[in-house]
Amino acid sequence: MAFSFLTPADYALSAPLILVVGVTLALAVGEVFGRVLHLPRITGYTIGGAVAGAMSDTWVSSSQLPVIQGIINLALMVLLFELGSRVNLQWFRHNRPLLVSCIAECALSFLACAALAGFLGFQLAQALMIGALAVGTSPAVVMRMLGETAARGQVTQRLLAHTAFNSVVCFVLVKLFASFSPGADSWFSALGNTLILLVGALFSGAILALCFIYLRRFINLADEHGTALLFAILMLAFFALEFFHIPPLLPPLLAGIAVRNLDPRPLVLPRHLGSLGGTLVILLFCLQGLTIEWQHIYAGGLAALALVLVRAAAKGSVLWVFAPRSGLSRRQALAIGGCLTPFATSSLVLTGVLHQAGSEVVAVVFPIVLSAVLICELICPLAMQWSLRFCSETNE
């Protein structure tokens, strides 16, 4: 075991140092991936973090979990706000087949994955939860990969629209099915809980959006002073959401969408809200790797691989079918299908949404889902990189 020379007394003092060493290892592997292998850095961060995590169970001490959770939540809020601010709702009005394809992509990936789970022997509630988790694409992976490859073009725009859409659907469905578990008082209260969450998210997202819109009149949010202020607001929002027990996923995403669509002026922000945001996002992937619990991965096995394949096929086939009507080429449809493969589940896990649900269902589906998530964390950034190059959306 690494660092076994440390005595328990030393450990208490050295815990932050150990964490920093783990993160540094993950960052180093990420750089090797990016500079030497010309592969996505985030795959390197995750692999580096996962390997470091496997070498020792002392990387992350229980006392650090709230801090790590805070960093991760803040990084995800930055990414979700950024994602939301790229979604033009008018587009769905002008391109109805795009709207239909977004709905169909969510529906088919939900049904296909739930059916697969049923086939694999999961009970109905568990199968529905697996289906719900399969709907969402990881906003973190998508935003980071688009940033790293400086991608732009039709595939990029569609990818953002699909990711935002399926993330909203996924977050709502997961909350719904987690509440429907036997632990819930009744179906009525479960629906009520979901509705309260949704209203709370809408309300807090609207307040956040109004703050941004108001501030933009006086401050240039693109410069470092404005960006620092944006960060401060996001942190305030984070603490407020925590106080009201609202998961910090939907509000920043909805706030981003609202800012984009209520204020016609272009929202020009530095990527990931500048270097601080960028650092947080990189840390997110390192910490994600470090906190992987391998026993879940082993338990998932081949079933997880089947889940990944069925989900990818479901999303890809919908895009393929709707491609010509929505103005895409088949080539682009394939590329978007490839880019939509990362699971949003990691966001839900990391932000504690699933743990908060406290559901027995969640405990049962964890192994297969986490296994699938890891497969996607490793493979999907590569698939995204290839897909974006395949459609000449990266400036390489």
């Binding site: 601010s85 790229r86 033009n88 587009w91 002008h94 391109n95 732009r152 073009g153 039709q154 725009q157 984009r260 016609p264 002026r265 272009p266 929202l267 020009v268 010509p324 929505s326 103005g327 080429s329 000449s392 400036n395």
Partner: protein, 371 residues
């Protein structure tokens, strides 16, 4: 390759080509949307001359052969509507203007076509810097010699065409102080500027053969002259204009060129002389730099006067010709703009002063062209 035969066309017919900006609707930067737009237009069976340009953030629309300005306006309106519809399907914006205010040339992608890839290999980064947007107007000529006469005769009015269309004050995120900074990118090309002073087609053919023998040029497309003959179409092509911010103004400028050409052909108001070109680059610079406020020198009398005054004086002279062509109303609109010193360049500067955000200025630009 030898010079193609000049295919005569009906005198004073005209056609308009507009190179347009394709932007995203997020930060309104240029985006490589031309292949997507062309695919959607093809799927919808849109009929019209819409084609790719040097980089994939550019797209060109062109009218057919027009006789009157109304016809050009109708055709441009149809093309715009089709393009706007396709752009909305793809969440893209289309804008006029001679330059995109803050695009980074190194981020542009050369269009995947043999000719553009070849130009990119010859001209290097200049090809990407050629992400600029111009209006070209073809004027029909019944013979090759008439085409050459028009080419040299219209050269005197190049400052007018530049000032009337000027819409490129911003380049790479900065106000250049120019009304039309687009042409500075064209001047970087080795075969830009004016055509040699030859008045007879056999002489022009001899010049062309000499140039092809040097290996410097392979076709007429390799000459980036301000005005050049287009033997295949039987026209002279005026290429100095920025793409205006709206299609109506584009059509009005084309009508002005048509009316000047009619006046030149019918009245032959002056004899052509090579010395007319002595002041050519100075006058052109004044138009690019100061627009309507530029001061030009008359090639014969050496008098100086403002470009705005000269345009108004020319409008007076060609009024009868404009009436014959049915373009007096269009030229009346131009006169108003000149008298009020309203140019697209000043519109952009005012817009930027108001919004204080270049992406927001481009958003207004997009709304203006797509409305």
């Amino acid at each position: 390759m030898s010079l193609p035969n000049f295919s005569p066309s009906r005198a004073l017919t005209f056609g308009v080509e507009l190179e347009l900006q394709i932007v995203n609707t997020f930060d309104y930067d240029l985006t490589p949307g031309a292949p997507d737009l062309l695919r959607v237009l093809e799927q919808r069976g849109v009929v019209g001359d819409i084609k790719p340009e040097m980089t994939s953030s550019m797209i060109e629309i062109a009218t057919g052969v027009c006789e009157r300005v109304d016809q050009a306006i109708d055709e441009l309106t149809d093309l715009r509507d089709s393009l706007v519809d396709a752009a909305r399907t793809l969440d893209l914006g289309i804008a006029g203007g001679g330059t995109h205010a803050y695009q980074q040339w190194r981020e542009q992608q050369i269009t995947d076509a043999q000719r553009y890839q070849q130009l990119s290999s010859i001209y290097g980064y200049l090809a990407k810097q050629f992400t600029i947007f111009g209006q070209h107007v073809h004027i029909g000529a019944p013979s090759a010699d008439v085409a050459l006469y028009l080419m040299h005769g219209l050269s005197r009015y190049v400052p007018h065409f530049i000032a009337l269309s000027a819409s490129s004050p911003f380049v790479q995120g900065a106000d250049t102080g120019f009304a039309s900074a687009r042409l500075n990118s064209v001047f970087a090309f080795p075969l830009s500027g004016r055509a040699p002073f030859v008045e007879r087609w056999p002489d022009f053919s001899t010049y062309f053969d000499k140039m092809t023998a040097t290996g410097v040029v392979a076709s007429m497309k390799d000459f980036y002259w301000d005005i050049r003959p287009k033997p295949e179409y039987g026209t002279v092509e005026v290429r100095v204009m920025d793409t205006p911010l709206g299609i109506l103004h584009s059509a009005h400028i084309a009508a002005y060129i048509q009316a000047v050409a009619r006046w030149l052909l019918i009245e032959r108001p002056f004899e052509l002389e090579e010395d007319d070109y002595l002041v050519y680059t100075f006058n052109r610079f004044q138009a690019c730099r100061f627009g309507f406020e530029g001061e030009i020198v008359h090639p014969r009398t050496h008098e100086r006067y403002s470009i705005a005054e000269d345009i108004v004086a020319t409008l007076d002279i060609i009024e009868q010709h404009a009436m014959e062509l049915g373009s007096d109303k269009a030229l009346g609109e131009l006169r108003k703009r000149v008298l009020n010193r309203q140019s697209d360049a000043s519109w952009l500067r005012d817009c930027f002063a108001e919004t204080r955000l270049m992406p927001d200025m481009v958003r207004h630009q997009v709304n203006h062209w797509m409305q």
